[in-house]
Amino acid sequence: MRSYAFFALKRLIQLAVVVFAGTSAAFLVAHFSPISPVETIIGRVSGQSSFSPAAIESLRATLTELFGFDEPLWQQYLNFWSRFIRGDLGPSLIAFPTPAMELVMRALPWTVGLLTVAIVLAWLLGNILGGLAGYYQNSRLLKGFGVIAIGIQPIPYYITAFLMVVLFGYIWPVMPISGGFAMEIRPAWTLDFILTVLWHALLPAASLVLAGIGTWFLGMRALVSNIVTEDYVTYAELAGVRRGTIVGGYVIRNALVPQLTALAMALGGIFSGTIITEQVFSYPGLGTLLIRAVNGGDSGLVLAVSCVAVIAVAAAIFVIDLLHPLLDPRVKVG
């Protein structure tokens, strides 16, 4: 057990480094943005009513101090970290003065929920079907799945989402294609609300599953067609072990180990895909928020979303890595 703690510690350090590098990079990129949030706010305020130049000047000074832009870069960087650790990244512009972090936290559950459901479904379905297709290579049905998987695998997230909208929004309008829940239902833990959330999540989730399942299917099929030539599978077949046991306990079970690693590696990409999908379906998650922030010139919010995205993905990878030794007894922990 001590060795497992060591293993976890090592992963935790890696997680910290990823988060540090990612957020630092995001900070620096955002810092060099030509759009100053101070001027944006001033422009917006002064556009509504007329102020004296002195008042604008004092507003500018106040805002500059509020954002800390009068200090040298390294000081700003340290401030960024000290505030970031307290979960404060300044006010947002698009919903001034709501803190950027609050908007992000409001959007996060939607994204996490959608992503988790879509990943679990795509990963499980893809792996089970792919595993069966790899083992029963002569099944016509599974060969058909293979052709379909090859057809849909290369289609990017944006296009699947877009096709879904076209199909169910214009050609056969039976499903909601925008928003996270029906407007007339108040957000609360009621059955009605949960149902409408599920109903609205169906299309975005389906489009994510569709975009992701092909990869898992094909990856698993390739893995399994190698694993079936392993000695332990041959040996179990020679011993007349039940088919189901061989497929489940010998073939698919062993292929899941590399597929779990692959999931950790693919998570960043899937997250990017989710952001795009949300935008297409106007889903109230991080993606939509990010696009709104960009269009509104809200650099603080863009920074906040980017940082939270880096942390969320790194944390998810960390969790998957921790599961790894549980799935594979051979992993050297320590």
């Binding site: 990612g22 990079a25 995001a26 090859i150 990017p156 076209v166 997250f271 990017s272 980017s306 995205a309």
Partner: protein
Amino acid sequence: MLTTIRDLFRYNIEFRIGSILVTVIVLYSGLSFFSPYAPEQIYVVIPDQPPSLTYWFGTNSRGQDLFWNLSFAFRNTLVFGLIVAVLSRVISIVVGMTAGYMGGMTDRVLMFFNDIFVALPIFPILILFYFVLRNDLDTYTLALIMACLGWAFDARLIRSVALGLRHREFTRQATFAGMGPVRIMVEEHLPYVMPIIFSTAMANMIWSIGFEVTLGVLGFTNLNIPTIGTTLYWANSHSAMLVGTWWWIMIPVILIILTFLGLFLLAVSINEHIDPRSRLRRMGGAE
């Protein structure tokens, strides 16, 4: 090499379909050089014409002939994908082969950075770049950024192959025949890595073009350059689906799916060619 391609073409249906699709798309994008209209010209033909013998792909609401306009778009998009693929291949070969061949501390350090790149969610970062650069984010800058972000996954693949090669006896034979590390990597190991480089290059093009399309659709790119992404952006901004100019959206979508399918089939078939076990399976299955 040539005979391998010929044999693949003749006996591997995935490779055949893939190469035909890619060739057709490449030829089509090459037609842009003969276009009667410059890509930035608008209102040169009657707007909103459905596909016909005169306008094969129809015309859009901005008065452009989609056939010629899309040929420019495909050329730009393919060139973009190619630049990303080539640049990121260079990085991943250098990192992957060095880590795999040197092993030890070099390997650990390189893979540590590699894993950071793998873990970064790329899309928010790209958007961040757009946010900073705005219209300075042209195709080439974007290609450079994507190449810097898109090598890590494949570097790991190349490393694992190089790591296996390092422990093969012929590597020691080469060392004791007086060959230096660079010569061993380039002459002895690179041939084994080449097929992976080809197949990941295809996958990488799909990946980078996918992002380019997405950024374009969202308007996060220079909208004056015709690419698949900007084409879809203009179609959306003119509500093409609502006003019934469906061809403005569906034709590029179908073409881009065909492109992806072609690239993907090439990647899959080359990959299968690398793996002797699945090849044996194919041989057995061909009764």
